[in-house]
């Protein structure tokens, strides 16, 4: 680059540069500023949305945890859960809300609603663990409504290792309902072995095994 000798020449050069680039620079600054403010506004909006979901979820937990529920509380819980699922569908809040909704519906003998809620989580969630929980619970509902074949189908898909003992336990229940004691015994034994390895306690598993005559006639 050529040496610029006098102040005047330098000033001229700057003016020259401004003429050709000034407007571009200004536009750049405006765009950058708009970008930053826009981003911040978007974040504020997101934050507001998330806070709303968080509050609704906290209320839902409080209702689901109480021992006795009246119809009012139940209606409120269902509307909270619906809101979380429709407005924040992809979040973990929505998944958990689905599970909680099912539990509350079961308390009110509303099996259809419970099944629907669990189906939504099992089919709609992005999180494999939540899907598996929902499927296992769904299978239990199907056994309870005298449809153990559907339960077997629901339980076909693999679940995370930590839930396999649970899955086998429910499989066993399905086989008992289908009067297939040998398969049931196998599933319960598998559940027992897995639970032991994972340091889990599944309530009643030993009772069910014992009742099948787990000890083959010696």
């Amino acid at each position: 680059m050529a040496e610029l000798r006098t102040e005047e020449e330098q000033l001229d050069a700057i003016k020259q540069w401004w003429k050709s680039n000034g407007s571009a620079l200004l536009v750049g600054i405006v765009i950058a500023a708009a970008g930053v403010f826009g981003w911040q506004a978007w974040q504020r909006y997101q934050e507001g949305q998330s806070a709303e979901a968080s509050n609704a979820y906290q209320q839902l937990i409080a209702i689901a945890s109480s021992d006795t529920l009246d119809d009012n509380a139940r209606t409120q819980a269902f509307s909270l859960a619906d809101g979380l699922q429709s407005d924040h569908g992809s979040t973990l809040y929505a998944d958990l809300a689905g599970l909680l909704e099912a539990k509350i519906a079961i308390g009110a003998d509303d099996t259809d609603r419970a099944r629907q809620a669990l189906n939504d989580v099992a089919g709609g969630s992005d999180r494999p663990y939540m899907k598996s929980l929902a499927r296992i619970d769904l299978a239990r509902l199907q056994i309870a409504s005298d449809d153990p074949d559907a339960a077997l189908k629901t339980l076909e898909e693999a679940v995370p290792g930590a839930l396999e003992a649970q899955r086998q336990n429910v499989l066993g229940d399905a086989f008992v309902a289908l009067e297939r004691p040998d398969d049931a015994r196998k599933a319960y034994r598998q559940a027992q072995r897995l639970a032991q390895d994972a340091d889990q306690t599944i309530y009643g598993l030993q009772l069910k095994l014992d009742d099948l005559g787990a000890e083959d006639a010696t």
């Binding site: 806070a51 979901a53 809040y93 663990y129 290792g161 889990q200 009643g204 006639a217």
Partner: protein
């Protein structure tokens, strides 16, 4: 690098880089770049690319040690646990954040204000308490907020999982009916006496058993020691105490002795105001001054119904039982006196001391003398301990030390470090001293060991033997009884199997002493546990045919025949308990299951 960027600032590549830097600074501040370049050096682990700093681990470790929950000796082990926990938490934090879980600053503020730890006596949030408590626990306000936020989000996940567990009515009915199931069965115990002839193990049997169970016949390394014991009690024997000293000690003991107390309690809050309660007690006080009986007034006025019927009598109370203000009054009164109005958490009291729970001076004399002698002998004892320490260190034996101090040298039997010896030698510090290199290998006197406040021990090793597997001849009788027990059990099992086979075929079996259990539950007391367990594990009998089985029992082998099974009552009182238990266990499984699953899936690197 900067030079090159300037030189080439016409090029589009450089423009992009500069642009990226500007955007980064504008959005995230300079911190993000700084932390990006300085990461890695001080991390103990990374979880899915997020690092856990050494400092984070150390802070937790120090917090644990300072709180006294972790003894410093377990620091290393604790550090490992802390890191494991931080990794677990981090995976859950990431799960929560990626799942869109969120706590706003407002929600966090509300939470902090509602925590009882930061509230003053009136239940209001106190800024001062907040700052103090955080400082005590080693938090700054911002680090506390950060951790509380993460903790709250993790809790949202866990609470949601826990609250969503359920037990269906059909499941509940099935489990309860199984739990309450009743079985009717016959059983008989076969013992050694039922064998045709007692077992007679051969030498080869013994040898074989001994060879297979050599570990059971190992004797650990052992020593014999000579030792001296200095007791403060012995030193105290020679101390003279005067009557005055005894009386003084008695007065002191009396001041702290339990008081026999009666009281009149007037509560306030729901039914009356504090003012009304005070007026009520003023009425009692004026009646007392007119000579009314305290016990009668207690029956009439006291709100403490359990003591009111006994004239307000609370029995003997220790200091600290009802709180400071109650103690201050009760322990400053002489028997027969009544206190002013005293306020406690229960309400307002008038307290009357009816007696002091302490033996008379004469009855207490012996014990007092003992106690005073001990106190008086403290300095003398300290002198002796000092002398013992010096002498034991310098001497080449113990007997000269014993002579100097008027003690007796005693000799122990064999003992190992793990089991310790008899008496004072059972103290782990003493056993450890006997096996320390200085004492065991070099033959020096041990240090003086403080076994308790009033006792010191010193020792030296006089004999030593290495760990050894005892030869069969020395342990023959133990081996023999073990082999006999094993063979007896085997033969009984065979006998039981034969018997069961005959029973199944419907053949008559004689010489068996049957016992009957009618409609026994799982928790029935009648039959021994092993038999009960077997009875509930056998298949259901079909067509009234008894189902036979056998199982090891406490003193032999048992034959069990299940005759009938009765379903339990599904609506029993235990059903609700079972439901709660089932749900709690279920909650535990799904929460731990999530943690486990996230950890299995995460990329975790430990440095």
């Amino acid at each position: 690098m900067l030079q090159r960027i300037r030189e080439g600032s016409q090029g589009w590549v450089a423009k992009v880089i500069v642009g990226a830097i500007i955007v980064t600074f504008a959005l995230f501040g300079a911190e993000s770049l700084v932390s990006y370049f300085s990461a890695g050096s001080n991390d103990v682990a990374t979880v899915n690319g997020e690092s856990i700093s050494r400092q984070a681990v150390e802070t937790q470790v120090q917090r644990g040690i300072r709180s006294g929950q972790v003894p410093p000796s377990q620091e290393r082990q604790f550090r490992g646990q802390v890191l494991d926990q931080l990794i677990r938490q981090r995976t859950l934090d990431q799960y929560a954040t990626e799942g869109g879980l969120h706590i706003s600053d407002d929600q966090l503020d509300q939470l902090i204000v509602s925590l009882p730890e930061f509230q003053d006596q009136d239940g209001r949030f106190s800024d001062e308490l907040f700052t103090n408590r955080l400082a005590q626990a080693g938090y700054t306000p911002s680090s506390f907020r950060r951790e509380l936020r993460a903790d709250t989000l993790r809790r949202q996940v866990q609470q949601g999982l826990a609250a969503s567990t359920f037990l269906l009515p059909t499941e509940k009915a099935r489990l309860t009916s199984l739990q309450q199931q009743q079985r009717t069965f016959r059983y008989a115990q076969l013992t050694a006496a039922d064998l045709g002839q007692p077992v007679a193990p051969s030498d080869a049997d013994l040898q074989q058993y001994y060879d297979q169970h050599k570990e059971d016949y190992r004797r650990p390394e052992q020593v014999k020691v000579s030792y001296i014991v200095l007791n403060q009690e012995d030193v105290a024997k020679d101390v003279e105490v005067s009557d005055d000293q005894l009386r003084q000690a008695y007065e002191q003991a009396r001041a702290d002795a339990p008081r026999e107390v009666s009281h009149i309690l007037v509560t306030f809050g729901d039914d009356r105001t504090e003012q009304q309660a005070r007026e009520r007690l003023a009425e009692v006080q004026s009646k007392l001054s007119q000579g009314d009986d305290f016990a009668d007034l207690a029956r009439e006025y006291s709100d403490d119904s359990s003591s009111a019927s006994k004239g307000g009598d609370l029995g003997a109370i220790q200091k600290g039982f009802f709180g400071d203000s109650f103690d201050d009054a009760a322990f400053s009164l002489d028997p027969g006196q009544v206190s002013q109005v005293v306020q406690t958490q229960y309400g307002l009291h008038l307290i009357k001391v009816t007696g002091v729970d302490i033996p008379s001076f004469e009855d207490d004399r012996e014990a007092l003398a003992q106690q005073v002698k001990l106190e008086q002998s403290q300095s003398l004892f300290n002198e002796r301990v000092q002398k013992m320490t010096d002498d034991v260190y310098q001497a080449e034996d113990l007997s000269s030390v014993a002579d100097e101090l008027g003690l007796k040298v005693q000799t122990s039997g064999w003992f190992s470090q793990d089991d310790g010896g008899e008496g004072v030698l059972s103290n782990p510090d003493v056993a450890a001293a006997a096996f320390s290199p200085d004492v065991l290998e070099d033959g020096y006197n041990s240090d003086v060991i403080e076994t308790d406040d009033q006792q010191r021990v010193a020792l030296r090793v006089v004999d030593h033997r290495e760990a050894n597997t005892l030869p069969l001849d020395e342990v023959r009788s133990q081996v023999e009884s073990a082999v006999k027990a094993e063979q007896t059990r085997q033969q009984l099992q065979e006998l039981a199997a034969e018997t069961v086979a005959s029973l199944r075929k419907g053949q008559a079996v004689t010489d068996i002493d049957w016992k009957q259990a009618e409609n026994a539950t799982r928790e029935a007391d009648g039959a021994p546990d092993a038999i009960l367990q077997e009875a509930f594990r056998l298949p259901h009998p079909q067509d009234g045919k008894t189902v036979w089985g056998h199982a090891d029992s406490q003193n032999g082998v048992a034959i069990v025949g299940v005759e009938s099974v009765q379903s339990g009552d599904a609506d029993s009182d235990d059903a609700d308990f079972a439901t709660r238990l089932a749900q709690r266990l279920q909650a535990q499984i799904v929460i731990q299951g999530l943690t486990q699953t996230l950890q299995d899936e995460a990329e975790i690197e430990r440095n």
